[in-house]
Amino acid sequence: MNLDHSAVLQEARVFNQTPIRPRQSRVLLAKILFLIYRGDNMSTNVATNLFFSITKLFQSKDMSLRQMVYLAIKELSTISEDVIMVTSSLMKDMQSKSEMTYRANAIRALCKIVDPSMLPGIERFIKAAMVEKSPSIASAALVSGLHLFGEAKDVVRRWGNEANEALNNKGLSQGPSFFGGAAGQSQVVSTSNIVQYHAIGLLYAIRQHDRMAVLKLVQTFSGQNKSSSWLGGSNATLRSSMAQVMLVRYAVRVMEGDPSLQGQLHALLEEWIRHRSDMVSLEAARAMCQLRDVTGKQLTSAVSALQVFLSSPRPTVRFAAIRTLSTLARTHAEAVQPCNVDMEGLITDANRSVATLAITTLLKTGNEASVDRLMKQMQGFMTEISDEFKTIVAEAVRSLCRKFPAKHSVFLAFLAGVLRDEGGFEFKRAAIEAIMDLAKHVPECKEAALAHLCEFIEDCEFSKLSVRVLHFLGEEGPHTARPTMYIRHIYNRVVLENAIVRAAAVSALAKFGASPSADPALQRSVRVLLRRCLDDREDEVRDRAAWALRITDDGDARDKYVRDDSTFALAVLERKLVEYCASPAASAARFNFEAVPRISRAQEEETRSRVRMETMDAVLTGSAVSTPAQHRLGARDTSEPSTPAAGGAAAAPVDVFEQQAQYASKLNAIPELAAFGAQPLVSSQKPAELTEAETEYVVRCIKHVYEGHIVFQFDITNTISEQVMEQVEVSMEPEEDVSDALQPVVVVPIPELRYDEPATAYVAYERTDPDTFPTATFACTMRFIVKECDPATGEPEEGDDGFEDEYSLEAADLGAGDFMQATYIPDSHTLWETLGQAGEAVETFALANFDSIEECVERVCELLGMCPLEGALKPTSKAAHQAVFTGKWMGATRTVARTRMTYQKGSGVTMELAVRSEDQGVSELVVSSIA
């Protein structure tokens, strides 16, 4: 389509001709609209000129042209200036009693261009139009009312009675046709009764804050309120299905929270599920499924209605039903089970969205016995479906593996089978990830899984995947019974593949050679292979081989590079590197790796799998089926081993390090606090709640420790919609005298705190003596000025000066643990030995008030503020437990704490805590934090 922009605009001269040529002008207007809809950019200037020549067309009485002019005005109104000009013309058309006018179109055009301040002038006419017999005019007025509601709430609020009248208007028949004119049309009666939909929508918008009114609305139209039914002269009913759908939503909204109305609501929904219109039936069934405290029994009718929909010939109906069931399966898997057979039938559905949802739902509702059948079915159609869909299936199987590990042989056979088929990168990646998952989590099938992976890389067209598999073989292979088997496959890569894969293969070989479980014979053969790699064409491959040869000889280097079980917190590493590259000053110096916290591989793995589960869950909810963003995220999280945490952090802002980065940027935005340092050395991991749940204000405290300062951050939320708080500050009063160690320096208040918009206040203290680490309890009080406001707008009422008020919070504690940065330190055992007894502090505590070890160890962990090592928080026995914690005092001094605890009924927990660090004083402080 090559409609030329400038040529069309040239033609616009037609509008200025006299006499006006209605037909030609109309076609030209359509072309102009086409340009706008096509996405051509029109400058304000051009649009304004055009607009003014269009206004001339009002001189023509031709209705077919007039209708087009209205539309053109609406579309140009967002681009052109001074559209207000046509107000009077439109008003004339709107009020016209003549049949010749398109009143409905005039109303909509007028409301589109009208300025809220002019609304009172035309209000009368719109109200009259709303109760007009003609549905088109009434709808136009009602819909325009809805559009205006956002900008001119006050005016539109007054239209409630008219909306109500329109809703109950029985004027079914279309009034005399207003659209005759030159074209001459016959009357058409609307079968949709859509005017009720518009009326109920506007009525609800106006009355939404009035619970009783909404309740009455619902009851009137559900035939429960007999008294009102004779008012209308007949039963008040909603003839429009769309209006009925809205009524279902309003009913749920207004009745769900009220326990006394629960029974009524359920009865209503049951009734609506049997409604003759599928649309209503679906809405009611869905509403029932989404009720908060719904029981399996109450769901029966909803589920059986949806079950019928599952076999509908219309894809949309099937989709709607399966989507609802899929969401329901997350919370009430057992209620969905009756539909299992129907859903299995949908796996091969022509609509991929339906099929995907069917599979993911079956995963939730299926049991171990049905897995075999499900897998067989999937195998059957794998070759027929698109790549993207295969990927989803592979992801789904991956989740199944975790759910039913006992069925690993079935899964493995399935995955190996699909790997042999043709397929794109994403799909193959998903499949090998699933196999790797199996290998990691189901030890029985590890060897078989690795064998399949070996077979896969023998004939793999994607270097990236080969690299991934080689890396994985390097990780897992050395610990198997016969590592030599994998070495053969890996060395084949060195011979046959491109440089990227060769380099990865060399690294994998190095891991075999350096593995603690490698016997001398194996080590020798690996060395031979590595030596051959020294002659490689690529320098990277040669370098890696040379490096590998060196470290297999050198015990220390080997431990450092190959057996290290820690890794950088990659999100932080990435951020720091970006900062480093961005600032020319910083890049003069070397990059400081010490500043990057380390986490253990186990932790990293945990984050990664959590992210994956969340992604998968998002897929399962159906909210994101085939969303590209989700796929990208998934790809990022697994296919690029170099940035997994970055992907993770993006999906889970709860990530500790990311959280700290967020704090830092917030703190740095405040000049007084930014002066304390670029970033706090330590920030508390968990905010402390200073208020009870469900109170007027919610306050959380987070502590940040700087080199010489301590900042208390208070996140405050105002939960009262009728008031605005100003000048909110927190005053802190230490309960014991710490003035020799701590001096208050800065208090940062919140200038204005609106309803439900959390904001942050700060209080900063200076530590006067760098060697004293004070601990104290602070009594906290929040002081502020309260002003009344309109809940709808959030604007404080004028002339209200407010009054001062205060609100006491719970006390905030500053403990020794707050100075400790919870960092994972690799190889804590060696560190423990090297630190020796010089910096050790030991103490034994009798903690009578704990009822179990678990409770105790969690509390200790909290108090120490240190990073628990693997298994520290999961006692295996009820009677005795050992736990190790690591951390860095003030982000610098490395500290290891070991606890041994025993539990006896009656006397509680007895705990011995031994702390070693690079500084004796620190050790003692850490021990004292428990007391």
Binding site: P22, V27, Y102, R323, S626, P628
Partner: protein, 185 residues
């Protein structure tokens, strides 16, 4: 989050058999509408990806980019209604069907790219009668079709005195218009 407002449609799009845009209207008026697809570039990208997903599909609904998309293919024209993700699918479906059927009536049951472009004026008016800034205005195809006026004639103001000359000019103009439209295809 249930949608308690009547704003149900986020966009209506018509594409040709190659995925090129014929007409697209994005609605930004509802209160809780997403801010996405503001720029033409985003819109084009979205439409392109959507098209590649639905081109060969015979089904009428898809979840795409977090939106519920209803679509309908008639000859070489693809109609899409991009709806709120939480919206009742059957409601959306009746909105799209109402519009497509309405257009079909107006085009004498002969929807294709050519007749669509020949009758642009009626198509854009039908769209305006079906959906008003994101709110479904009418779903009954007969009403939609009857609310759209047919083209008038340019001879309405012709006086008898210059009849001959005028009709000739008109005939010429009409011929030119036809010709122009024919060139567009």
């Amino acid at each position: 989050m249930t949608n308690l407002s009547l704003y149900t449609a986020n966009a209506t799009v018509m594409l040709d058999s190659e995925g090129n845009r014929l007409i697209a209207k994005y609605y930004h008026r509802g209160q809780q509408q997403s801010q996405s697809y503001k720029t033409l570039k985003d819109q084009r990208k979205f439409e392109g990806e959507l098209f590649s997903k639905t081109r060969k599909s015979s089904s009428e609904i898809i979840m795409y980019d977090g939106q519920t998309v209803l679509f309908k293919n008639v000859n070489d024209v693809y109609f899409y209604l991009i709806g709120n993700p939480e919206e009742n699918e059957l409601l959306l479906s009746s909105v799209l069907n109402g519009f497509v059927e309405g257009v079909s009536i107006l085009l004498k049951h002969n929807i294709d790219k050519r007749s669509l472009l020949d009758n642009l004026d009626m198509v854009v008016l039908a769209l305006d009668e079906a959906i008003d800034d994101g709110i479904a205005l009418e779903t009954d195809p007969n009403v939609i079709a009857s609310n759209v006026s047919k083209r008038g004639t340019d001879t309405i103001d012709v006086s008898l005195s210059n009849l001959n000359e005028q009709t000739l000019i008109d005939a010429y103009n009409q011929a030119k218009e036809r010709f122009n439209l024919a060139l567009l295809r």
